[in-house]
Amino acid sequence: MSTTEGPTLIPDSAAAQAMADREAKGRRRRGWFPGLGDKWNALPRHIQWLWLMVVVVIAYLLPILNPPFITTEPGNNWQIALAQMSVYALVAVGLNVVVGYAGLLDLGYVAFFAVGSYTAAMFTSPDSPYLHIPYLWTLPLAMAITMFFGVLLGVPTLRLRGDYLAIVTLGFGEIVRILATIIPAMKGQVGFQNVGHPPGTDANGDPIFLNSNGTPWYWLTLTVIIIVLLLAGNLERSRVGRAWIAIREDEDAAEIMGVPTFKYKVWAFAIGASVGGLSGALFAGQVGFVNNQKFDIATSILFLAAVVLGGTGNKVGAILGGSLVAYIPLRFTSIAEFKYLIFGVALVLIMIFRSAGLLPARQRLLAYGRLAYNKLKEPPMSRRVQVTTDGGKEAGDE
């Protein structure tokens, strides 16, 4: 806790007023859409579900709607753009577990993405001499393998803190890329063509999942995202999510409060890695070609930018951030070359204005928390503080 924002020594009403001010100020400053998260949380459960249904339906209809202005055409095929955006969104969701929840700066996340891609490629591509399995099987396999790599990287490094961890993960990212270059079996720049795809043919007998048709890939990835989101939400509202946030907030205090911090950091790494692997496998399937060129550090940084842009710690924000990071270069092809510059500047601006990203909604960490808070007879702020500012009023509702 910083001293400037620290608690006041003044008692009772003055302190309560000060608290209301802090609460309101904290909310005003954070995010580009202030109050959105609070308003959302204030909605009744069934209204939230209704809104979610609407959003999900629209999301599924996007490739068909091809909305003007928003669409990436004529520069880029809209359906394929959507497929790529969804992969990036999934990556951001996974990385958000590591960076946003547990607060572990992972600069080599692309390595897990690469491992997932290579898993899909090496088990399905005809260029690969190994065992071939149906493409869909590579999805869980990629998750298992990347999870293993996550633990492998996590166990020795997660005893390190902050900068050290960042540097080690940065190194790991490079190691995987370099291995892909020097190990003959991974075929370096030549890579693997014709990566597999899910089964199924349309009326004409053509496969549904074509590399040239983004729509089915988009739908598949979108479905995966929804499942991952539901599961991530379960984790968030459990001791696991609480342990992660506690570690992010104060690792030593968490440990002293009985949180096995090391174990939960490794879990964050492993879970984040497996989602990275999953997105890598989807990416490999959709593009149909994997070589060593796509997994550089810059991509890692782009992933990180997606998380920070969307709102660190917020999974919905991560989806938004991930989609945007993929979308902007595809939509505005003339500035695509400058994407690193643009996202770099965006990151700097976020840091300067201490904004919490696009969607700064705080995570809810209790499975039945709404129940508990509803039981509170009346919000204390509205009782104690005669509300004068709109900020104070904001602090009262919830």
Partner: protein, 295 residues
Amino acid sequence: MSEAVEPEIDVDALKEQGVDLKVAEKVAPERDSPVKVGEPLVQVENLTMKFGGLTALDKVTFDINRGEILGLIGPNGAGKTTCFNAMTGVYKPTSGTVKLEGKALNGLPQHKITRRGLARTFQNIRLFGEMTALENVVVGLDARHRTSVGGALLRLPTHVREEKSAIERGMALLEFVGIADHAQFLSRHLPYGYQRRLEIARALATDPKVLCLDEPAAGFNPAEKEELMALIRTIRDDGYTVLLIEHDMRLVMGVTDRIVVLEFGKKIADAVPKEIRENPKVISAYLGEPEDELA
């Protein structure tokens, strides 16, 4: 469980504060210890802590008896906080042992020490700022939970049961320390006094056998201090054992059953409050301090 203590607390005043006196039953219904009330629950033996050339703790030996409030006092820099840190595993002691219920805690990771039953608060408040008050407490309760990552992922019955009971018990604890109406506020936004109380609630949530409080009343005015001391007595009467660091001598004398005095890392006295007050070594240790603190 509270047979050995004569409750001399102002029950009415506590009730007025909305304090629930039966917190232990709600928070830790099946707490049990092989150690009888009045016998040593924690044994600190020859605890030594060196930082380079500085000996912050020098062969400190004392017991904490079950059911007592033990005061740990000493001038600034005497090594009180260091003693807490060495006991709870934050620092690895240079030598010496700490035993809880006869079993050594040396070498255990901190979270395991907490699960054995040694909980603490911090001199400089260390709450999880981005969590609400209730969530902070539930993190403490999680120390006793059994849900695995898989169980949480799939919302298995254990998880559901534990989550529901955690909220009940968390709210009971917040009520106990008197801040239940602030349950949904981010802890970093809470007024200072509430943060101190929240730290106590969070430590209690881990269901400790011994609760170590590091200057819990620092920065309080006399009335607030009085309230807090009443709370600490209630905690003890509920069956917890308390180790209390506190600078305000008048307060320590009033609330503790026994006092250990440290000076420059050495134990210079270990006696009941009345004797401590008259102990010449203690008086000289505190000589630099204002007279009235000793009165």
